[in-house]
Amino acid sequence: MFAYLLRRTWQIVPTLIGVILLVFFLFNAVGGDPAEQLAGLISNPEQIASIRKELGLDLPAWQQLWIFVTQVATFDFGNSWATNESVAHIFQTRLPATLTIMVPWLVLETALGVVLALAVAAVRGSLTDRAIMIVCTVAVSISFLVYIIVFQWLFAFRLGWFPVQGWSSSTWTNLTLYAPLPVMLAVFVSLAPQLRLYRSFLLDEIGHDYVRTARAKGLSERVVMLKHVLRNAMIPILTNIAIQVPTLFVGSFLLEVFFSIPGLGREIIVAVNRSDFPVIKAATVYLAMLTMVINLLADVLYKAVDPRVTFK
């Protein structure tokens, strides 16, 4: 187990080096000279000179790369070019808002997705099942944008059940007042593809011999579905949840933009629009690192769920 962990952690290293190289190449070689982009943003030539010095733009490429590696290692990406706020501070202050939306979303989406998939899988092949699948296919085809525009207009503007947009400093107010509509929207939109996926996981299991055995020995359909099928289907379901965990931190860009939620996603969009490279670079590198760690944890988690998995 320990050897496995060590080996997997070791495997992360080349990928991480690759991510750093890719981001460095993109922003330093393709992105062009920041002095040109900053001309419209910062009028003070001294400040531009100090940014150039900080990035070591007058130094050879390998020294610039070294500066970038030190930035990654010390978690110090300097200050935002646009607002002069430190990047670390931006992350600290924007993350809570993102998590306030995304954690309830993941919990609700998973719970509803599994329960509905169980219900649909139990009546597989019936008219209800096929109707729900058709509705899901059509629902997936409509752009997320259309859902947001219509839901925000209908529930917030027209009916006035929720505030149109806004955010406060109290987590409780946010959770009860501002978060429900965006969370509901996110759950509604992601439910259809998840439901289809979880249904297919369950149906894969239902075809197995152990299910027939369980039925043959007289177990009720309820016990077969909940105890036998669900437990085995949990393995792909957990994988799928693990894949979604990194998105918790990225947040939903569109929701944050539409509902004026001061989260990380909106900050990144603003940064892209302003060519504010330090913020984008930091977000890309750290979220890639986070993704790798979460994937590793997910692999370890399988062991707990599936005794057949052995660490080699």
Partner: protein, 379 residues
């Protein structure tokens, strides 16, 4: 996979049949007939399966109709004058009839003369020439055009026909989706073919490359590419090519994964070894022999990517990171729709949203049918 035998002789027929001297001519003819009946090519069989699939055929017709509209708009046969301001501001759709349009009334009221016009021709020394001027005004085109109160599917803020705009938007969105998917699939196929065929250190390098691209959350990868491409002085002004490059260069990983797996599987097959024995080069074995046998996988991936990239383009254009501002796409239409909905002008939202939803539904169902039809194991 039955398709594995076809590349030996194109068309799925085996050319070399031993010509035994003891076989009567009639038997040979029978054999030939049997052979022709039995050996339908993989594409032919797939076509037959596709024709039987009713959902597949209907959705294919829808997709083809969309492509015809795109082609028509591309060559300027339809909607080439989408920028013409033919209607009043927010002219309502014809099927609604004339409804009160405060936005257009407000504009008209500004232009109209205020207060009663006084007849001052008695005292005005220029009065004798009034008539002459009126005649000359009538002769010259003052540029004031008659603006329609209603248009087939309404008008936007500037009085442009929403239907034409949606057609032009479809052209841009679908073109971006198709082109980006093509770029992504070509990159993925080339890298996957080389990695899966040669294995060894080349495979390791490409796998490393793949792991880099997949370890960055996809949306962040797109935004990083978009950010630097926008900042680059050359790439930023490449118009619609910028977003195609962003989507294509970030979206190749799934095609790579599939093609690599196919090549690993096929590399050791007899027909590839036979090609090796007759002296086919690596290149020929990779792209003449194996590629046709992996092409069904690539085709399905291509159509999945088209749908994904059309959706991505819409969202990126909405965020202002997609098509340039002088173009219209479904994404830019939706970004206008947000503020229009508040004042009750819903038609642009419906035109862009429905246009996209119908295409994406049809394309997704068509892809499902295509996958089923191309899978030789399902008979």
């Amino acid at each position: 996979m039955s398709g594995a035998s076809t590349p030996l002789a194109p068309g799925g027929e085996y050319a070399a049949v031993p010509d035994g001297p003891d076989l009567p001519a009639a038997d040979l003819a029978d054999q030939a007939a049997d052979r022709d009946a039995a050996s339908t090519g993989v594409w032919h069989a797939a076509g037959k399966r596709m024709l039987r699939d009713r959902v597949g055929m209907v959705t294919m017709v829808v997709v083809v109709l969309y492509l015809l509209v795109v082609a028509g708009s591309w060559f300027g046969w339809i909607a080439s004058d989408w920028q013409a301001e033919t209607g009043v501001s927010y002219a309502s759709p014809t099927f609604l009839g004339k409804v009160e349009n405060l936005e257009a009334l407000g504009g008209a009221a500004d232009g109209a003369a205020k207060g009663p016009t006084l007849d001052i021709s008695d005292v005005d020394p220029l009065a004798p020439r009034y008539r002459e001027w009126a005649d000359r005004t009538a002769k010259t085109d003052s540029g004031i055009v008659h603006r329609a109160e209603t248009l087939p599917f309404g008008a936007d803020k500037w009085g442009r026909d929403v239907l034409k705009k949606a057609i032009k938007g479809a052209q841009v969105s679908i073109f971006v989706g198709l082109a980006a998917a093509l770029v992504a699939v070509v990159i993925g196929t080339l890298l996957g073919a080389v990695a899966g065929y040669f294995r060894g250190w080349i495979d390791d390098v490409f796998e490393w490359f793949y792991s880099i691209f997949t370890s960055i959350p996809y949306i962040l990868l797109i935004l990083s590419f978009a950010a630097v491409f926008r900042a680059n002085p050359v790439l930023a002004h490449a118009g619609v090519l910028t977003i195609i490059a962003v989507l294509g260069l970030t979206g190749w990983t799934s095609a790579y994964r599939l093609v690599r797996a196919e090549y690993i599987k096929h590399r050791a097959r007899e027909y590839v070894r036979a090609a090796d024995a007759i002296g086919a080069s690596n290149f020929s074995r990779m792209f003449v022999h194996i590629l046709p046998n992996a092409s069904h996988v690539i085709l399905v991936r291509l159509s999945l990517d088209v749908v994904a990239f059309i959706k991505a383009e819409v969202i990126l254009s909405f965020l202002g990171l997609g098509v340039p501002i002088d173009m219209v796409s479904w994404g830019t239409m939706l970004s206008e729709a947000q503020s229009e909905l508040v004042i009750g002008k819903w038609w642009q939202l419906v035109a862009a949203g429905a246009g996209m939803a119908v295409l994406v539904t049809a394309f997704s169902l068509f892809t499902d049918s295509l996958r089923d039809a191309l899978d030789p194991k399902l008979k």
